[in-house]
Symmetry: C2
Subunit: 395 residues, 2 copies
Amino acid sequence: MREVYLDNAATTPLLPEVREAMIPYLGDVFGNPSSLHDWGDGSREAMETARDQVAQLIGADSDEIIFTGSGTESNNFAVKGLALAQQSKGKHVVVSAIEHFSVLHSAKTLGKWGFEVDEVPVDKYGVVDPEEVRKRLRKDTVLVSIMHANGEVGTIEPIKEIAGITSKLKVPFHTDAVAKAGTIPVDVRELGVDALSLAGNQFYGPKGVGALWLRKGVRIMPLLDGGIQEGGRRAGTENVPAIVGLGKAAELAKTDMESRVKRLTPLRDRLLKELPRKVGHVVVTGHPQNRLPGHASFCVEFIEGEAMLMLLNSKGIAVSSGSACTSRALKASHVLIAMGLPHELAQGSILLTLGIGNTPEDVDYVLEVMPPIVDRLRQMSPLYAKFTKTVKGGK
Amino acid sequence: MREVYLDNAATTPLLPEVREAMIPYLGDVFGNPSSLHDWGDGSREAMETARDQVAQLIGADSDEIIFTGSGTESNNFAVKGLALAQQSKGKHVVVSAIEHFSVLHSAKTLGKWGFEVDEVPVDKYGVVDPEEVRKRLRKDTVLVSIMHANGEVGTIEPIKEIAGITSKLKVPFHTDAVAKAGTIPVDVRELGVDALSLAGNQFYGPKGVGALWLRKGVRIMPLLDGGIQEGGRRAGTENVPAIVGLGKAAELAKTDMESRVKRLTPLRDRLLKELPRKVGHVVVTGHPQNRLPGHASFCVEFIEGEAMLMLLNSKGIAVSSGSACTSRALKASHVLIAMGLPHELAQGSILLTLGIGNTPEDVDYVLEVMPPIVDRLRQMSPLYAKFTKTVKGGK
């Protein structure tokens, strides 16, 4: 059976070049980078090369990069750490309604600590209106956190415009770029943000490693207290092989970005155009154009996303029905609900996220396999039966 | 030149068997364990095998193991998470004066949040007296955190005796076993503790992974908010290869523990006995017998630990002068100061931590190389000049 992995939003495979770069650090070069002897030197130098590579990917200085254990950790660190470091100035925080749970739940935790959290709504495409952010800014606002691109619907947010507003008012602005950094160009200076999260396993690097870019001079409170690693801002023995892998993945992403985008975009556009036509009663979710290059997401009427996922899996196709981080909770996505989709429709959510390993033939296969699967599920759907009855009755 | 790595307390090398176990998860088996399709299954199953292996190492149930990104994260999670989860009952926390900074600084952060932190002193060997813990317990004590073994001086603490006291008063008791788990037997039921931290890179497993064992029914507040991984207690895409490596290392540690201890103990004992004799003016730090099997630590009078470290390094020998986590801070160790050593002597701290790769010949080499190095440094030491003058003057 053909195997087609279309769940690159959940995690990407590791590139062979990245794995090769990591292997020595799982072998002879094992020293603790904090050690003062030669065994530490090899690890430390490799880590600093990786720091340069990550900095170059996003137009930053190396000493502004703090390595973390995941995109989730970067987001927790940024949201809690920035808010707590500024709390003498106020306790008001602004986030969007469609943030990843690592941002939303961190904000919720801030709520327990006496912070007030305002959620900015989004339009039907999942776009944040910068004016809606402006309206919510107050004298005691100490943090704005709006994501760069949404991993569930692919929509890219107007970060530069929002930063134009926050920077005038000198409110620290963090953006969760986990779904975007390494996929399309990100330049922190051009964006004008103060902090940015990214994760290795979103652009063919390893799991277990992320980074927080923090503009020089911005104060943050550590999430992990202890040793003086990462300039005293993130304690713990550094995960050298994963950090080396993140660096290599960042280097490759920068070099190959243009060609990757050129390959993925037409494949995505075919899915966005042909899948609704072939399946019927399908809504594209997220912005029609301004979206991640490999990201096609839909809601299929009258059936449940998980059922589609399982049947596609039986045909060798991996997709998801929402964020992997909450897949087992089987709840309607807060992102789709915030975009105004009815609960029933949101249950039919399906994400097809392409990666650099995918081919036009993969797309052909999905377009061939999916319509009969949806038909089969609809035959069993009481909602669909009710719908067809109504339509016939109305004739 | 001979190469002798004697800094296993900073980090251990990865065993080849552990690396082999990890490799598939840096290749074909790359799925996100939270994904519902076949690509996720392989990762998820491997992770659950690792959870069993870690549980078996410490006599726990699998569902009590929470994977983290490091020993430091496990300690931050335990100290902050347990205290915050119980804060309605009180805001008093007890730690020892010689905890790792990931515990001490986490307690300091609790201090900023209105907690009162009591530090239990230690004796000249670095041993905590359980009675000193008992004296500090109050009605509003919500957490005791005392380490299982100290990574700087090797002393093993009377955890079972302390747990006997805390459990009667129903105060949650966490022990940082990062320096000990995987090295000598640990059984959480026998110990009677409520939470225990461990880390992969302390027993020939990978960096970037640790675990917190948490007794069933004990409440904790997450440190990393977000997705529902690890039962909603530790969000973030799981570092599958590192988790697999931790599991394999745990399995090997359990199988080989007895033979490892038998090999390391006599090597350690030779160092503890012969180094002071050969070098002169050397104090063994930590408990003379009740200490980690591979752990030899000393204070050498009249010279600085870092200078010895550098010269030993030039002879191919890796040692450290304290905790790797703070090596670059170049301050006298809080552990040695708490044990009552004068600042001057504490500056001469040197740790030789043996691993399963070391041989009797390695010990011979160190015992041969070290005396002339110390002599050379002493010739340059104003403190030594003063000392010899006084001695001569006293004749």
